[in-house]
Amino acid sequence: MNPFVRRNLPLISTAAIFILLFASASLKYDGFFSGSVLVNIFSDNAVLGITAVGMTLVIFAGGIDLSVGAVVAYTSIFSAILIQRGEHPGAVAFYVLSLGALFGAFMGTLIHVFKQPAFLITLAGMFLARGMGFWVSNESTSITHPLYDSLSRFELSIGENVHVPLTALLLLATIVVGYVVAHFTRFGRNLLAIGGSEQSALLMGLPVGATKIAAYTLNSTLAAFAGLVATLYTGSGNPSLGVGLELDSIAIVVIGGTLLAGGRGHMIGTLFGILVFGTIQSAILFDGRLDSAWVRIVVAALLLTFILLQRAIVRSTAKR
């Protein structure tokens, strides 16, 4: 097999699955094959997609973060309450992003310095953030502010029928920035090196601790950003938002061909992961007979398929 194809087989197969899914849905459902469906995939999954970009970085380094859904919920309700109390949205955005960064740094420090399993610490972080969200307010709070009105009405028109809302644009921008950070910076290379072998990275003199903590910090900041996008998308803050979001986020990263054990992966894969997830969701919506429970089952099945595929590839490359 061509070495380029072999190296990027997970990525290529994700892209192939997306094209296959989108094509078959377009054949089955009238009106599926359109720019607006594609745009909707991005705007409906903006919150999920932004967390998936951060999750990709954490998983690159062999970590995992189960707290992102709760951070999204906390950020959304906290910023909604602050804005309703008369704070300026810009200042609120600054507060919640800093808070997210602090939260991630805290979890990263516990994981690295105290050598705790990432899933346990971030699961505790999930409890913490979720409870804090309900502490702020236990019900959905809508946001009324002129800036929010104009931002949520903002659309970029491409052609006659395709209007890209701000949430979709923010997701695309995050993916581009994530792509650059992951594949064109020292930080991104360090992440992959740590994920490949923390021992080797340490012996090479890479800043393992700082990089790992930075990955969790960046991820929680992105989750907070996703929470802000959620307030734009729904026009409100809700402490029960994003239950199970972290699982979908991990699923997207893995479907995108990133190795869950770390050390191997691609941000473009995550983009295709979002597209695959969104296509399944839209197809189920178009069908009307199927309900949302199927999304979970299909995603779990895809997840298993991809993990098995990756194992096969890793084994076949290890043999050479």
Partner: protein, 338 residues
């Protein structure tokens, strides 16, 4: 990496149960200070009533999950699917009872069999396919909730069956039936694990899988079986939960219970890295968590917010138990001794 140093076995702790018991005691003392009637038990209609009895009854589900989770963690794995499997068991049994008119034993057996099958799937993914336990059980965690929702048709199924309600609300000899059931599970597990070589096998696989395999132990079988057992525990816990609220809720049944179970095990003195395990410790850990939850109810903290102190407790315990902190403390005491 090859470690050439001779592994040093840590000195045996005086009693691994002492820390969780001390934590539970401390929590009870705080509770009695806040509310002097906290430990009061009264007798009504021949049943014992009171907050401690309530803690035992409500805590029985966490204890069951912790029992299965202890064995899974002892083999070096983890089972994230138990919460979803609880929902699946509730969904299967209540649908059979309510919509298909099945008899109670058949419905219960079906519910627990399905979760045992779920455990078998996790076990096969871990042992046969060699997936990381977190990943394998994560798949089942995601799919499980979807399956539970499919079974009930996305609705909450109300169960009105006096015999079924007895599981989670009934009393035998003045004690809640659920806690007695947990006691039976505990005795059977202890007998099986400590009177046969099963417990040793589990510890051997968790301690050093390769060595266990070279010693002629089928590590794959041991691993697969602990997940099946965890699945069965989750199934029974799911039925207790369903019976307790007289309804099967595919969305919220067993929500976040996986963390409670893992935490109970960790507090109970079983290391997440596998090896030696202590079921009694996990039970004390589960009771500690339930006491904390009940405390929150009594103090008037809304249940949704009650996760905050729980999370803080988890973080404090993890940090306190870590080798890094122990090293620091040891250094501190050594310097003083000099």
């Amino acid at each position: 990496m090859i470690d050439y140093a001779i592994p040093q076995t840590p000195p045996p702790a005086r009693s691994p149960l002492i820390w969780p018991l001390a934590g539970l005691g401390l929590l009870l003392v705080i509770n009695v200070i806040i509310n002097p009637a906290f430990l009061k038990i009264s007798i009504l209609d021949g049943h014992l009533y009171g907050l401690p009895i309530d803690i035992l009854n409500q805590g029985s589900r966490g204890m069951l999950l912790a029992l299965g989770m202890t064995l899974v963690i002892a083999t070096g794995g983890v089972d994230l699917a138990v919460g979803s499997l609880m929902a699946v068991a509730g969904a299967v049994t209540s649908t059979l009872l309510v919509q298909h008119g099945a008899s109670l034993p058949v419905a219960i057996l079906a519910g627990v069999s399905v979760t045992a099958l779920g455990g078998l799937l996790s076990g096969l993914m871990v042992s046969w396919l060699g997936l990381q336990p977190i990943v394998a059980t994560l798949i089942l965690m995601i799919a499980g909730r979807g399956v539970a929702q499919k079974i009930t048709g996305g609705e909450v199924i109300v169960v009105q069956n006096p015999s079924f309600e007895f599981l989670g609300n009934g009393f035998v000899l003045g004690l809640p039936f659920s806690i007695l059931l947990v006691g039976v599970f505990y005795l059977l597990a202890q007998l099986f694990l400590r009177r046969t070589a099963a417990g040793l096998f589990i510890e051997a696989v968790g301690d050093n899988e390769k060595a266990a395999r070279f010693a002629g132990l089928s590590a794959a079988k041991v691993k697969a079986l602990v997940y099946v057992f965890s699945g069965i525990c989750a199934g029974v816990a799911g039925l207790l939960a369903t019976s307790n609220i007289r309804a099967a809720d595919p969305y919220r049944a067993g929500e976040m219970m996986e963390l409670d179970a893992i935490f109970a095990v960790v507090v109970g003195g079983t290391a997440l890295t596998g090896g030696r395990f202590l079921i009694a410790g996990a039970f004390v850990g589960a009771l500690l968590l339930q006491t904390l939850t009940t405390t929150m109810y009594v103090v008037g903290v809304p249940p949704d917010v009650a996760t905050v102190p729980k999370a803080l407790l988890i973080i404090v315990v993890c940090v306190a138990q870590s080798d890094v902190t122990r090293g620091w403390l040891r250094g501190l005491f050594k310097r003083r001794a000099l």
